[in-house]
Symmetry: C2
Subunit: 406 residues, 2 copies
């Protein structure tokens, strides 16, 4: 949580940190700027002091919405520096020298936020060389901002609940849309008598998302039959919607400069083949078995182990025994969820993953079973939140049902 | 253009390059993957050979849509490496060692694509240390992928034209929406008799964008009166829509995993105050004056100089003489446009900016004049394309008119 930033800095021996870059695709910057509608920025935080937002003069109104102390970057006269040095890298080093001098930044300084990797390498190497008063620090795994973001406070959970509510409404409206179609020879038909296609359903879902004020910059999955058997297959636009086939519907929308939700339901229209019924039941029971393990202090990797052991006992291949399997349980059991779709905690089952579940964690649990050659895939995904007292809440306000009556 | 990649590599002395990261907010990766609907990836290109896409096993269907030679990353057994090394950074170094050995990558290797800056610094430093067969190279300014992306081929221009068409339709439908409202005391009223607000108009614009299949992940600007006087002010949701006030309407949507467009019109509903008429005329004439300078070989910075000189002659302050001015012409004349909103070419007026305009360049020209204390701002923005013969095309299919009759 944001209130932990100073303690996390102390644990890492950091005197200050910088988070910078474009706001787009940069969740740690969005986090520190409290969702302010700017396009870019540099945030500098000294331990024990509030973060300072160094913003573009063009965005001074939006910058104020961050609630942070502001510095207009025009103060540092970057264009003049660029004119004098004739080199953008040298000019950026000089910009940071001025910022650090102005704000009194010295000592161990962590750098976070998205940048071109080659540029980051050159800039941080140049800063390490040119600025003797600071030591440049990066973190590769379990980085400060990622750890802070992983535990959500009450306000963040309220925002996630709001995205959850709207996402569930989109799913329910999608189901109502599908049910409005008539059926001939097990195929849904549009008003003009042609088969309803995956592409048409996806177009309608985009409308529903917009009506809910949701963005879905990474798309979503609406895949039927064989495609449902490949976990991240998006679905082929020309496929007709047919009864009795598994449809994997995985939505991961977000609010503008805000939190994601992530929700998967698998269903069959009209009826389900017996083989799918069995698989669906196994996935649903696995989800319950994993959720039953969730409590403060449990190792994150334990959830992956529980899911793999559960499916192995029921005779399915899993990634635990067959890392390259494309049949059975082929992926991770879940991921942290927040301002990024995938964030801390991480559930990879390796000994070096010593993360434990903590109050404030929000994460998905999403067991799935796939068999593309048999033409099916089943995945169910709920989002859990561990509150400050350690109580576990399911944040997904939507039931699970395999068969959608037509 | 993509076909220039080998020549650009040769000019930089690169034997190979890597572009990696999440796809979200990572235009160089989107570029190389030809818009494939994956969430992440590593692309490795050796000089003289096609790029190779190292993809997640979960995304094997979408990866194929890239049209590139594929390698399933499962081949390199990352989880096993992670189990053995117990350290994600060391494991990632070993992953790259295996990839480079497998693909025969040696010598000078450029690294591009978005990553956490601290992680990039650690990873590239570790690769430089651990892999004697390669030399790690980054680029800070005018980087290979940025330069390649700056010149668009015919297929890319066709995609940009399609986004342009849809964006212009959104603007025209917005105007029609505004005109449908009745007016009382110079204020637009909704059906229930309350004033129409900026927030309501913005909600409607989001619907229009969705209907056109456009994403707008960075929002848009619809700002009236004083807010229009601050270039990037987004507009306050509760402000009523009134006649006779400048409205700056700046849209910058994109297709999913595709190209952006960028379009600004300024207008007044009903009538325009004489002061605004004069300013609008000056901005429109500046735009024409800048466009008249566009041809192959002209220095990019020249367009900024022309705009500043034009406005200075008409008595407005400009950033050329007053870098910190918030009145007059306060920003850059334009920016390259493509898979990112802001990309090459860059128009900053400093001697080190030796970029010249080239066939294939697509960029905005967007002069503006602002005076927030007088309650107005005017900006007009068109997109230009220089084709392979050097002919200049205006890609913005929308007229400019200050007054929208009610």
């Amino acid at each position: 949580m944001k209130r932990d930033l100073d303690a996390l800095m102390e644990a890492r021996g950091l005197d200050a940190f910088v988070v910078s870059g474009p706001i787009y695709g940069n969740p740690s910057l969005i986090y520190l700027l409290n969702g302010a509608a700017v396009t870019q920025g540099i945030v500098v935080k000294k331990r024990g002091e509030p973060p300072v937002f160094i913003h573009s003069p063009l965005e001074r109104d939006e910058a104020a919405a961050s609630g942070l102390p502001l510095v207009n970057i025009a103060r540092y006269r970057f264009t003049e520096i660029l004119r004098e040095t004739g080199d953008r890298l040298k000019a950026t080093v000089e910009l940071y020298r001025r910022i650090f001098a102005d704000l009194g930044v010295r000592g161990e300084v962590g750098f976070y936020g998205m940048a071109d990797q080659g540029q980051a390498y050159l800039l941080l190497s140049a800063l390490a060389e040119a600025l003797p008063e600071i030591r440049v620090r990066g973190e590769y795994d379990g980085a400060l901002l990622d750890v802070a973001r992983a535990t959500k406070d009450a306000d963040e959970v309220a925002q996630i609940r709001e995205v959850a509510r709207r996402t569930a409404e989109v799913v329910e409206e999608t189901m109502a849309f599908l049910r409005r179609h008539r059926v001939k020879d097990d195929t849904l038909l549009t008003d003009d008598g042609t088969p309803l296609t995956v592409g048409q359903v996806k177009g309608y879902i985009y409308q529903l998302l917009a009506r809910q004020g949701l963005e879905s910059p990474e798309g979503f999955i609406f895949a039927i039959g064989r495609d449902a058997g490949v976990p991240h297959s998006r679905g082929r636009p020309d496929d007709p919607i047919r009864l009795g086939q598994t449809i994997v519907y995985d939505l991961f929308p977000k609010l503008a400069k805000g939190y994601y939700f992530d929700l998967t339901r698998t269903f069959c229209l009209g009826y389900a083949p017996p083989e799918v019924e069995k698989v669906y039941q196994d996935v649903a029971e696995c989800l319950d078995a994993v959720v039953a393990e969730v409590r403060v202090g449990v190792e994150a990797r334990r959830l992956q182990q529980v899911a793999c052991a559960f499916f192995a006992r029921r005779g399915y291949p899993t990634v635990a025994e067959h890392p390259e399997t494309e049949v059975g349980f082929t992926h991770l059991i879940g991921h942290g969820l927040g301002l990024a779709i995938h964030e801390e905690p991480v559930f990879t089952d390796v000994p070096s993953n010593i993360r434990t579940l903590q109050p404030g964690h929000v994460f998905t649990v999403e067991p799935g079973l796939y068999d593309p050659s048999s033409g099916y895939g089943v995945r169910l995904e709920d989002v859990l939140w561990i509150d400050e007292t350690g109580e576990v809440h399911n944040l997904t306000p939507l039931p699970k049902e395999l068969v959608v009556e037509m």
